[in-house]
Symmetry: C2
Subunit: 332 residues, 2 copies
């Protein structure tokens, strides 16, 4: 097999593109796809301060690598979830990458800062482990970005993540979730802008990029992921992709081209500051503060649970269908 | 396992309902679901003349059986596709059912009436076999219903068919197809009203109903169905359903409740009479007449293929994603 660009010896075959690339050209092709995503959704420019959500897995490190290589101002943020040796090894991979690249890595330890770890949250809270983990990560990253004065949060969600999430939300016709599934969510009322520069690239492609760029990432999956709903949707998409290469891309890109306008307006809720932490929410207290209080056995005061609050409860309880893993990738 | 209704010995277990029923109660439950579908979508009433598209398989015969049993004026129409022994056995099953019930069965032989059979069409035309078969059936049934003065065409599409079709159309964001996927399409400009009274019932349920009612149906699949796109979507849905029972129903019913309004208006095309046969179309000549001319090596005259005609070509070429089998069911 020959490289489509230089006719050298190909190392990566992309069935949906009916093309193959060599070890030199593939990282370039990959980078062009990231550039295309950034440009099309006007994600950020070189003057923006970007906070990259770094898990230590292939997707988030590949993302950080591309952003640094292409000259963006990208700081990493690693969140210690307290999932035993898995978290230790993930932390080490993030630190090693930052040191090798001379990049800034910030670290938040969940237990130290917020008083609980994910295994405890899964046992004590009313949410599934993946749901409370996703909720926690979305909260901590947004808060860290807001407090750190960052312009945008970049996550490593790839094409497989996004197609699986869209499938899950479509199978349930969660029209408000579908409306929010954009590769670039604008900032609003205390929510920092969020972007997914890898959404055009498959899991296989990010793995190949990370490998070819010599990135030492954590390959193991989170040990708590068993039974995750998102994984089932990924499996279903893979079943279809196997006989119809390109279906995932067609599904996600078709949504971005023709689906988004249909669902616009279904996410039209007002955000107000949480009565406890001040972060944006649609109820009196945000889902994170309520989950945390439940896990720690504390009380938030006489929370008014009527009205919009119920809506947020329902929303946060369904977090598993949203990308449970804010970094994106196979760890989900 | 006990029957949920009478505590007798259950013979059918419905995982998505977390319930089981005995051989007496299940056909009643099945019939109630059909009644619910007819009522909710105002499909027809006892004064309407119904033409049932009968393939000889479980779904179409189960449908005909329920309609006759509940007192509707239901005539069967069998279309001989010329697919060797499979068509012969299907014809025999339809005739035997009609005779046993004292019901009227009309028969159209495709080769005799229109000059070609499906195996020939698959070899000679530019469409796949399933696409031209679906196109042919939609045409012949609509024409027979219109010429016979019927008020409505009823097909045996079940929940599995409808969920798979919706999945296929959603994965491609075929918004105009999605807009038309209603269990009841109103009559317009020469198109007879079309209804799917079994859309609330799974393939397993129609098979169980047919078995318990002693219907002798053709079990074998169409020998030309290999590689059918619809089957792949069915497999994908079954993969998800296996771990999340109820997903198919949630997907289809969620669309009917919340999705339909979003896509309405995407099927807003004017119909005009075909320049050759007079049946409704959006181009100068209908897709059926064009396909038939191609198969028979004839010319339709100086067809103007510009403008809306192109649109119809694209539409008919994608027929495989629509229910290729107008009767519904596993034969697809």
């Amino acid at each position: 097999m020959k490289c489509k660009r230089c006719s050298g010896s190909a190392v990566v075959e992309l069935r949906r593109h009916n093309a193959a690339f060599c070890k030199v050209c593939f990282p370039e092709v990959f980078t062009e796809q990231v550039r295309k995503a950034i440009r099309r959704f006007d994600m950020f420019d070189p003057s923006d301060r970007i906070l990259v959500a770094v898990s230590g897995g292939k997707d988030s490190l590949a993302l950080w690598d591309v952003l640094l290589t292409t000259g963006y101002d990208a700081t990493g943020l690693y969140l210690g979830l307290g999932i035993g040796g898995y978290s230790d090894r993930s932390h080490d991979a993030a630190v090693a990458f930052a040191e090798a690249r001379g990049a800034e890595l910030r670290v938040v330890d969940l237990a130290e800062r917020y008083g609980y770890d994910i295994p405890t949250a899964g046992r004590k809270g009313s949410r599934s482990t993946c749901a409370v983990c996703g909720l926690t990560k979305r909260y901590v990253f947004n808060r860290a970005a807001a407090e750190g004065g960052f312009d945008v949060i970049a996550t490593g969600h790839n094409l497989d993540d996004e197609a699986a999430t869209l499938l899950g939300n479509t199978l349930r016709w969660k029209t408000d979730y579908i409306a929010r599934q954009s590769p670039a969510l604008p900032a609003r009322d205390g929510m920092v802008r969020k972007v997914k520069p890898l959404h055009r690239l498959s899991e296989l492609e990010t793995a190949a990029y990370a490998f070819l760029r010599g990135i030492d990432y954590v390959v193991e999956e989170c040990p708590l992921v068993a039974g995750n709903t998102q994984l089932r949707y990924k499996n279903a998409m893979n079943t279809i992709e196997a006989t119809s290469p390109g279906t995932k891309a067609q599904f996600l890109f078709g949504y971005l081209d023709r689906g988004i306008p249909l669902f616009a307006g279904d996410d039209d809720v007002a955000l107000v500051p949480c009565g406890s932490c001040g972060q944006p929410t649609i109820g009196r207290f945000c889902a994170f503060c309520r989950a945390r209080a439940q896990i720690l056995g504390e009380h938030l005061g006489s929370a008014d649970r009527a009205g919009t609050d119920d809506r947020e409860v329902a929303r946060s309880l369904s977090d598993e269908v949203l990308p449970a893993e804010i970094y994106g990738g196979a760890e989900t």
